[in-house]
């Protein structure tokens, strides 16, 4: 009789099914990905029962921070560049070609018109710091100096009739700041806009 032999175990695990699943998952996430834009302030939007989704593209978002500072972003760099170009053409803003290119790529902006140039020249990491910490940051929006109006008019002219406007404000933003935004939108006849909320479970 032969010797008793322990059968040598094969330690090689077949990874093929696993990589199949992984690739599927990866494709799913890549196709559904909509990247979160960097926002200078953390905005906690209130919940609502409304189930309307925001428009996919061509959307101008106006952020209102809890302190009442106003920032703005356009969902595509192209749209943002067009908007700035419109302001430059109307002599409201002065940017060099290089600065304009840089400006098109910034995720969120919000400084008075005369400091946009120097703000764009800063390092990307410092830009948001200035937006959050400097008390002079934010788009001015009061009866004396209403630059928000200029921006919205420029965006409307540059991006056409079907551009949507959305207001994204924090839960604790005082209504007085919202009122200013609404008033300046009203004064330029922009009466249709969206208020961004999150889904709230029904009571």
């Amino acid at each position: 009789m032969g010797r008793f032999r322990v059968k040598k175990q094969d330690t090689f695990i077949d990874m093929t099914p696993m990589s199949d699943v992984m690739v599927l998952l990866l494709t799913f996430f890549m196709l559904t990905a909509t990247f979160t834009k960097e926002e200078p302030v953390k905005v906690n939007v209130p919940g609502s029962v409304s189930e309307i989704k925001i428009p996919e593209n061509n959307l101008l978002t106006i952020f209102v921070s809890p302190e009442g500072k106003i920032f703005m972003t356009m969902d595509s760099p192209v749209g943002q560049e067009k908007m700035a170009q419109e302001l430059i053409d109307n002599n409201k803003l002065s940017l060099t070609a290089q600065q304009l290119k840089e400006f098109a790529q910034v995720p969120t902006f919000g400084t008075p018109l005369n400091t946009i140039g120097s703000w764009v020249d800063m390092e990307p990491a410092k830009r948001n710091e200035l937006l959050t910490k400097d008390s002079g940051a934010g788009i001015p929006c009061d009866s004396l100096n209403d630059e928000l109006k200029e921006w919205v008019i420029a965006a409307r002219n540059a991006n056409g009739e079907n551009m949507g406007i959305a207001i994204k404000a924090d839960k604790n933003t005082p209504y007085s700041s919202i009122k200013e935004v609404m008033n300046s939108l009203r004064s330029i006849d922009e009466s249709r806009y969206n208020l961004i909320t999150t889904l709230k479970a029904g009571e």
Binding site: D14, M30, P46, K53, S176, K179
Partner: protein
Amino acid sequence: MAQIDTGGGDQGKSKQKKMNARVDFTPMVDMIMLLVTFFMLCTTLLKPQTMEIVMPSDKEDIKKENKSQVQTDEAITIIIDKDNKIYYFEGKPSEATLQETSYGKDGIRAVLLNKNKQAKAEVDKLKKEFEGKYSANAEKDKKNKAEFKERLSKIKNADGTPTAIIKPTDASTYKNLIDILDEMANCYIGKYVIDKVNEQDKAMVAGLAK
């Protein structure tokens, strides 16, 4: 013995070495895992909801229309004050008494539903009618939904339904406003405006607080 020893078998056949056809997938899986994690963390699957509102513009004709609405008996005015307080009165400000209420089901919603009984009954009827109509056919379902929406808005904007005038004070927060706008949807009120608080409203609130 001039034979060259091939080191193999005595048969003299050269045996090809069997190639191992298995490829090690582990590094690939590692990399894909990393990518999946990256995409999972960077995406926002949930799109934020929005509320569509239409504000009256400054044009004269629309302003006049609003003024006439305020005069009717169907008006209900909601004043949103600081510290999550809300007040409401019905009808004309000169004749009405201001009352305090709260957010949520037992507060403002009960008041509004009571005011909007007719629409509520009709919407309930409508909902019942459409309840059994769910269809697996996507196109049919879409058509049903569109019809439902249309009839809902008809009920909401019918004559005799109340008009809400929302007056947020400067000290109220954005959340308060959204909550009230939510109640408008919950209570099927189709006609509402956001207005400024005037001195009379302020005096009424101050009078109640005493």
